[in-house]
Subunit: 171 residues, 4 copies
């Protein structure tokens, strides 16, 4: 992800007013704390209000007994991308549920790209669509996530530490 | 998993006729080739025709920015358990889609138990329910998987090698 | 539905304390106002806290171009049963989303029975499973509903009129 | 729906080769036999290969106890639109499952418009998205359908009678 500022989030005082700068700050902050996405080797390539793009290479340890990428890792990439999109306004938001349909297998070495976008946001709840394709643009999976906004901000002004109060079910 | 025979699958000649013994053999064979489930630290605790139970401990690298288990790992455990249940009759079967609802967060050190059972099986398609709870029996997530049977067997008689022809979308 | 009291809901003063009597009262009240369920010919056969059973006969006007029951009517029966189950504690609750899987076709004259039960309830949100079978016990569809509790009661003490403030998305 | 020919389907000899003309013919034929969609007052406004648009006015008998449109009727409109889209290539196709999320309530007199489009089609299975909005363009529900192609054609050349062999689970 290209962030507007490369400042560490610890140095942030006031939050940016520009929605795009705020999305990038929230994304950077989430990613730094997100051991799961990092462990998958997933990168946050783009983030903007209501949207995010991540990508990940399928590695040997992600293969199932059929020598194709285990559905759980495809889901994890989609779910992470959903999480970045729904937290992109710096309001702490968690997954309440998701549906995924697998369209084609992914193989070792494939680069999977997941693009999440907000379809609706009303009150505390939102619906996000995530499309996962491979390096050739072939659709691999389609995912729909349901989000629920809880208390707190991804990055708090002046004290941008980890939010321990939000104890979300999912992502 | 307690298997009827501890023989390596390479030694298998004729397949067992007993459905329970066949389920255990298929489960053992799948697990040995399933780098993804092994990498998650998930164990196959029980398998029988149409059913499977797996468990997994939530580790630090599975935590998201909220310090709770990333939904992708909970999904992966449920999805693996679904895969073992729907392949338990030794007929190669893949996931076509899944729905998960997250009910409560899981934390580092929690032991998650996933129990999959077949709700329906008609022709090539099946529906499986997976319930994930923690070590205290608290429901963490509920999952429904749709399966599709393709050609081939999990363990082929005489030549129980990896089935390279089944190229499944998911699990 | 057998209600504890056959009194019209207009006559209700204090609400019953017994959960079963309250469920029956809420069910009776909802059903009287529910033109959609009545129009489907669906009957509320049983209601108890967190559970409901409804049934409906497939009529000619419910058939699609394949001469089987249109999935929308099977869904409608399941969705109504879900609505009665999730309002059975007399707290106004609406559907936020549902997933249905069709297992076998239903034909004209079939009597469909839908049984809803609460799988989880935490805060304002719940998960309900509904199983739809025909008169022979054959599974026709399986449904999962997500509920969200809003303000208000199904039957208000002293003034059990229609609740106009709850403007729910779905059932 | 505007059809290329207003000829009754009984008069059809050879099927049109043009995909758009074939979609319109299949749509007209399905609609004429679809008592369910007709009974809902749903009209087929547009059909093309992989796509369909239908609309329906919310009537008094569609209201639930909250005086909003019962989710089952919103689902039925979406499900019908999905059925027309996935049969638009004149290959008999049925629903295997669907997921709907309700975004905002619909009221008596609202005109609901459902737009279905094919997201993927591989072998016998497809994924379709249906978006339902009201007369003001406000999103009411979002639906995802999974389709499965069976034997037969919507309109058979020379003998365009009702296909009794396709006995689909859903729509």
């Amino acid at each position: 992800m290209q962030t507007a500022h490369n400042a560490s989030i610890q140095e942030i005082g006031a939050l940016p007013e520009d929605p795009q700068a705020l999305a990038e700050l929230a994304g950077q902050s989430m990613y730094e704390r997100d051991a799961a996405s990092q462990g998958l080797g997933a990168t946050l390539d783009e983030i903007s209000p209501g949207k995010a793009t991540m990508s990940m290479t399928v590695k040997a340890h992600m293969l199932n007994g059929h020598k194709t990428c285990h559905g759980g890792f495809i889901f994890a990439l989609a779910d992470s991308t959903f999480a970045f999109a729904c937290n992109s306004r710096n309001l702490t938001t968690v997954a309440s549920g998701c549906t995924i349909d697998f369209l084609a297998p992914a193989f070792e070495g494939d680069r999977l790209i997941a693009r999440a976008s907000e379809y609706s946001l009303a009150g505390r709840t939102g619906i996000y669509d995530v499309h996962v394709s491979n390096q050739d643009g072939k659709p691999i999976a389609v995912f729909r996530g349901r989000s629920y906004r809880i208390k707190g901000n991804v990055v708090e002004p002046q004290q941008p530490a980890v939010n321990d109060e939000g104890r979300p079910p999912g992502a």
